[in-house]
Symmetry: C2
């Protein structure tokens, strides 16, 4: 049973095996409650050091020679490191492009592997950008594909997995889902849904953007076909750090990227006039990767790899359970409604609340009380627990300050007119 | 008439109006002759300072708030700065993705604007990566497109523009050319070829990778349809810095990117479930851009913008003329053959030489004599003149050291077996 005191939160921090990891991050303002590591992770100290070395020494001094000293191999080397976090054996993950561009490559590749099938299944909890990419692919291919969105339960909090599974039929080419839903934090059963896809002969793409680095993922174990994900949330890779894609080894010789870039060609520096895809995951690379962003992100992975996903998940569950208990006791009486699953087995590492003044509440939290959560249309605030640096006291204090916004009616001076970009 | 002495080179440096700009770059080793700014530009001091501020302050301290403090608008803001270097009025250039991905978007967009036409024209001097992207688009669209490559003259040194223009017919959808050829440095007449394309109702994409930042470009003035280019060569943006694309305003409402990313949507943070392209150049953005690479590159543009393209071109022509004169006098007797146009109006900012031992000569230059040129298959060495920091003494000294490689037969200890990636 949790206690409501700050002392109790401090005790939890003292007992936390991962607490020392916070020292590995730059914390410029100890009073700031940064509850948005699920959107942009904090800066790891070694990433800052790497960025400076990379610019001043690798670019500034070794110049073009950097390509022969670790830059060229980076997309696959860093891919294998990320692979170790998502249950992918070596040679199946590449770091390249953005999540959107990678999803585009894989959607096209998958649809071309299932000619004659017309359904693409997702659900209403998925990230809209994933819909857009699919809609663009459908428009381009002009082959009569339909995007089918299965519904949700509990007012958009949990997936209706039964409906989702029923939506997959023998005309289904592809299923595209986010592993953790961006609004509610709902966590899907990868194994069950992947099996359901395969039972009908369909392929599946998992978008791991909101789960990678926060919880165990077993792509090989679940026989997933494809996955994409971003590296700037729980992996702390830095704003817009390059994304990754996973192609199961079983599909690597038949699946093809539509973007035939030179980094995906066999022997690109032979400058052969005709394209021939490289063997393996390399063929899903396209152009020259953004090295400053990529190698800074590589360094940023170290705290995650060091802590290990199992320990991160244990703390994440403990923190989101604690946060939900405080929400129940302290925020529900003020009109907040939990908008995340109560079952930790169905929940990622952020917790959402709903309130009809959330847009103004979020503004007041940031401007007046030094709390950074994030707001999502139309009425959601998300609090992200990033186990590498979020403390239990951060969580306790976040709930206290949120109460204050309501109690002191601090939100009332803010406009409900939307602006801002994140 | 040039003189062969080092004194003469020193005099040219003293008279050079751009000479002070070299101070704006990090020069760690004054003895190093870096003649490869056409592959990877040197590190501008202010880019190094920006990278550090960006990581430690913007990411480390403002965290997610950085998106509201200049990150979000960066693709168009930096695009407009690059636009000012290529004759593009504001609102027509965006920085996003890699050159390959951008070329892919524009090839698909262009082919969809010319349905029923089957020819895509390029020539044998183009960069192979551009062929690959076109080949991939042809394969994907399965609409019977043919890639036609017009020939060259002078053993691959100059384009056969007459043949090129004759290749454009009423069945031609698209012409794709590099503005400056990567091997010989041949510089195309944008106006003439664009007019020839339009006369047949075809569209044209110019790849500016080897010209941007080194010479005047007038995209609007020539009524070019589309362009792409990279930012890590003469623009000094850093390894793999994001690329740019140009879409003429006249085409912005009809052309569409096949990659429907959220950054290209109207009001992306409304999280609407259906895609609707943003107005203007924004619709050619895709996913979240790599901010560290992008904003470091923005700072790196300052020396180019400060110097002005006219002054850069004057010095570039003067330097390549000087280099060619030294090649004629000092390297031709040793078996080197000039592999770049003699007419400066047909030449970019690098000068190529051919020798059947070029692969071993390039290795010896770098390993023994501290010169970095670059080698291109099968028998080419390119010497890049980057007017912002290349000195006349660098050029003089490069020719002296190249003579020494032959005179002392230094290349003979190196293997002719290909390795390395750049």
């Amino acid at each position: 049973m949790i206690e409501l005191s700050r002392d109790y939160a401090e005790r939890l921090d003292r007992d936390d095996e991962l607490a020392p990891l916070r020292e590995q991050f730059v914390i410029a303002d100890e009073d700031l409650l940064y509850m948005d590591g699920n959107s942009l992770g904090r800066l790891p100290r070694n990433a800052a050091a790497k960025a400076q070395r990379l610019v001043e020494h690798e670019w500034g001094e070794t110049l073009i020679g950097g390509w022969n000293r670790g830059w060229y191999e980076a997309p696959l080397r860093v891919g294998d490191t990320i692979g170790s976090l998502i249950g992918a054996a070596a040679g199946q993950v590449a770091v390249t492009d953005s999540t959107s561009v990678n999803l585009y490559k894989l959607v096209i590749a998958a649809l071309r592997l299932r000619p004659g099938r017309h359904r693409i299944v997702t659900d209403t909890l998925n990230f809209p950008s994933d819909y857009y990419i699919i809609q663009g692919a459908i428009d381009l291919l002009s082959a009569g594909h339909d995007l089918v969105r299965a519904g949700s339960r509990d007012g958009g909090v949990t997936a209706d997995v039964d409906e989702l599974v029923r939506s997959i039929d023998s005309d289904t080419a592809l299923i595209v889902l986010s592993h953790v839903a961006f609004r509610s934090g709902y966590l899907y059963d990868v194994q069950r849904i992947t099996q359901a896809a395969h039972a009908e002969g369909a392929l599946i793409i998992w978008d791991l953007s909101h789960s990678v680095g926060a919880l165990p993922i077993e792509l090989d174990g679940c026989k997933a076909d494809f996955a994409v994900g971003c590296t700037y949330k729980y992996l702390n890779g830095g704003p817009g750090a390059p994304a990754f894609l996973y192609v199961n080894r079983a599909l690597q010789e038949t699946a093809a990227s539509p973007i035939w870039g030179w980094f995906g060609r066999e022997t690109p520096f032979a400058f052969d006039p005709d394209y021939a895809p490289a063997r393996g995951i390399v063929r899903f690379l396209a152009g020259t990767p953004p090295i400053l962003s990529l190698l800074t992100m590589e360094a940023a992975l170290e705290p995650t790899v060091g802590a290990g996903i199992a320990a991160i998940r244990r703390k994440s569950v403990s923190q989101t359970e604690y946060l939900i208990a405080l929400i129940d006791l302290l925020l529900s009486p003020l009109g907040f409604e939990l908008a995340s699953p109560r079952n930790p087995a169905q929940r990622g590492s952020h917790v959402s609340v709903r309130h009809n003044e959330c847009y103004r509440i979020a503004q007041a939290l940031t401007a007046e009380l030094n709390v950074i959560p994030d707001f999502r249309e139309p009425d959601i605030i998300r609090f992200g627990c990033a186990p590498l640096y979020t403390t239990y006291v951060d969580i306790w204090e976040t709930v206290q300050r949120t109460r204050r916004v309501i109690a002191d009616r601090l939100f009332e001076t803010y406009s409900a007119t939307r602006h801002g970009v994140t």
